[in-house]
């Protein structure tokens, strides 16, 4: 990995977590570099979502830490981690179901508002300006993803694939620098999946962000990842480029030998 810069944008440092007696993660250690697409793969129950839950601040690790540009995030509140620029999507979609598509995106722009309650009560220029800008930006973002026509629909009425897409748009709206995607292709057919993979590439390039992706279908992951990290029973068993992973005997044994 000669081309990689010295400093990782995200470092998962010796992470362990246990729930009761169940050791779910054991010394998980990897780095993600700026502008990379890194995939976290592994069989069901390997602990992938748990890694995301710790990075996004929902769980506190038993030991180890999460570093963002060398800043320690461990124990920080989830909303602060989002404000710093690490935002996730969820394995089972979590939209604001009864709100419009547009509101879903504007809510993610929470950080962009500076006016106070009084501003809204008295319709101050700052209020009008900030609200108009947020709405305009949100509509533009939706247009990039072909969802502009749907802006005023209630989000739960979108087809499944578009709901997944909206969740990604929402994460982008929150000013994300590292996007964590938890099985974004789950429940999609082959055509939808390959469209989604193209989209992820496109997002990385246009928004200049870093993507950490969970996906348990290895064939798909091979196509888009710069690097792949394989998790098995809570331990990292391999970390390398797609071709390195493909030929790694541990991975073949642990994972390919036992397809899900």
């Amino acid at each position: 990995m000669m081309s990689q810069p010295a400093e990782a944008i995200l470092k998962v440092d010796n992470l362990s977590i246990a729930f009761g007696g169940l050791q779910v993660l054991m010394n998980v250690d990897f780095s993600v570099y700026s502008n990379e697409i890194v995939s976290l793969i592994g069989p069901n129950g390997a602990g992938k979502t748990t890694v995301f839950n710790i990075i996004s601040g929902l769980y506190r690790p038993t030991s180890g830490s999460i570093l963002f540009h060398s800043k320690n995030l461990t124990g920080m509140h989830p909303h602060r981690i989002s404000n710093i620029g690490i935002t996730r999507t969820f394995q089972n979609i979590r939209l604001f179901k009864d709100l419009t598509v547009l509101d879903n995106v504007i809510i993610a722009k929470h950080f962009a508002f500076c006016y106070k309650l009084l501003g809204s009560l008295f319709y101050t220029p700052a209020y009008v300006e900030e609200e108009a800008k947020a709405e305009k930006d949100a509509l533009e973002l939706l247009a990039v993803f072909g969802l502009a026509e749907r802006a005023h629909d209630i989000s739960k009425n979108l087809p499944y694939g578009e709901q997944r897409k909206l969740e990604i748009v929402r994460a982008l709206a929150s000013g994300v620098k590292i996007l964590l995607l938890d099985e974004p292709a789950a429940g999609m057919n082959n055509a939808e999946t390959s469209a989604l993979l193209k989209l992820i590439h496109h997002i990385r390039d246009t928004f200049k962000i870093t993507v950490l992706l969970i996906e348990h279908d290895m064939k798909l992951v091979m196509k888009i990842s710069d690097r792949i990290i394989v998790l098995h029973h809570g331990e990292v068993i391999a970390d390398g480029t797609p071709s390195q992973i493909r030929n790694n005997p541990h991975v073949v044994e642990a994972y390919l030998g036992n397809p899900t």
Partner: protein, 318 residues
């Protein structure tokens, strides 16, 4: 969004409404006047609870407790400190609201961090505690209650308070603050991952709702001229909850409509009640609730507002 002209028109209508009200309020029967005032108080109560439970999704079963704090604090000030001047009345209402809001803040800060049904249990316990404390507080009359509160609340005061409360909530809902409330109701985890400090916004919502309950309580005390702790029992909290369930959790106009209906309906059935000697109120509430759950589980208006419906399209904002 409202155009400039339309906003002017809305305030104009509000102004004309108040002027007309000030002319007619002395000409309508005292009975109707009292019902209108009670409707107004119930509108404030229902919308305050709606903010907490309907909009932010935090089930509170102790709204009457905050109402009691506002009622007692303002009444105590009027009776023992200031007397009945209008300006003092205004300050006393605000004092009642602020004290209730303060209690909401103190109660909400620790409990709103908890998940699930804890808040419901804690708020229920809190309002019962307030009632028992008032029962044992001799300085405000204990079980005998507090009499001779100046009869300051009239239709104008009530209409003003209702108008300001509704504008306050409506404008709040048009800001990122209101959207944060909705996001929390819809999905707490997603709200957090959108950068929303969910504890902070839950506390803001809870404190605002408690403040409005305090204002309503203060108006109530100065309308009835006599209050006692048993008025603010669980039944009262339940009554307010029914209003927002009936109107559609989360709907401003729904809560308002339901508050008016549930003030007038028991009165319409009063003759029947006198003949049969049965208290119809609770029967109405329970049967309404059952019928609603069977036919329109999301309330009269659901999460929508009156102006979202086609027949009211004429009033729709451009």
């Amino acid at each position: 969004m409202w155009t400039y002209l339309k906003r002017q028109q809305a305030y104009l209508i509000l102004g004309v409404f108040l002027v007309v009200l000030s002319f007619i309020h002395t000409h309508i029967s005292p009975y109707l006047r009292q019902l209108l005032i009670l409707s107004g108080i119930n509108i404030i109560l229902a919308n305050g609870l709606n903010l907490i439970s309907g909009i932010t999704g935090q089930l509170s079963l102790g709204h009457a407790g905050f109402m009691a704090i506002g009622a007692y604090a303002s009444a105590y000030l009027s009776v023992f400190v200031t007397g009945p001047e209008s300006f003092a009345f205004l300050l006393n209402i605000l004092a009642g609201g602020c004290l209730a809001g303060f209690f909401g803040f103190i109660l909400g800060l620790p409990t709103l961090r908890l998940k699930g049904d804890y808040l419901a249990i804690v708020t229920l316990g809190f309002s019962e505690m307030i009632r028992v404390i008032l029962l044992n507080m001799d300085s405000v009359g204990g079980a005998r209650g507090l009499p001779q509160i100046p009869h300051n609340t009239d239709l104008i005061w009530t209409a003003g308070a209702v108008g300001l409360s509704l504008i306050f909530i409506y404008r709040m809902m048009k800001s990122y603050i209101g959207r944060a409330f909705l996001a929390i109701r819809e999905n707490e985890l997603a709200a957090q991952s959108c950068g929303i400090n969910i504890t902070k916004y839950k506390v803001i919502s809870f404190t605002s709702g408690a403040f409005l309950a305090g204002i309503a309580g203060a108006l109530f005390a100065h309308q009835l001229s006599y209050i006692n702790p048993s008025i603010f029992g669980f039944i009262k909290s339940f009554e307010i909850l029914i209003m927002i369930v009936l109107g559609g959790l989360g709907s401003l106009s729904g809560a308002t409509l339901a508050a008016i209906i549930l003030t007038f309906l028991p009165e319409a059935l009063r003759p029947l009640q006198q003949i049969t000697q049965i208290d119809f109120r609770m029967i109405i509430y329970s049967s309404l609730l059952i019928v609603m759950m069977l036919t329109r589980p999301s309330g009269l208006l659901g999460k929508r507002e009156l102006w979202d419906f086609k027949i009211f399209g004429a009033f729709r904002r451009s």
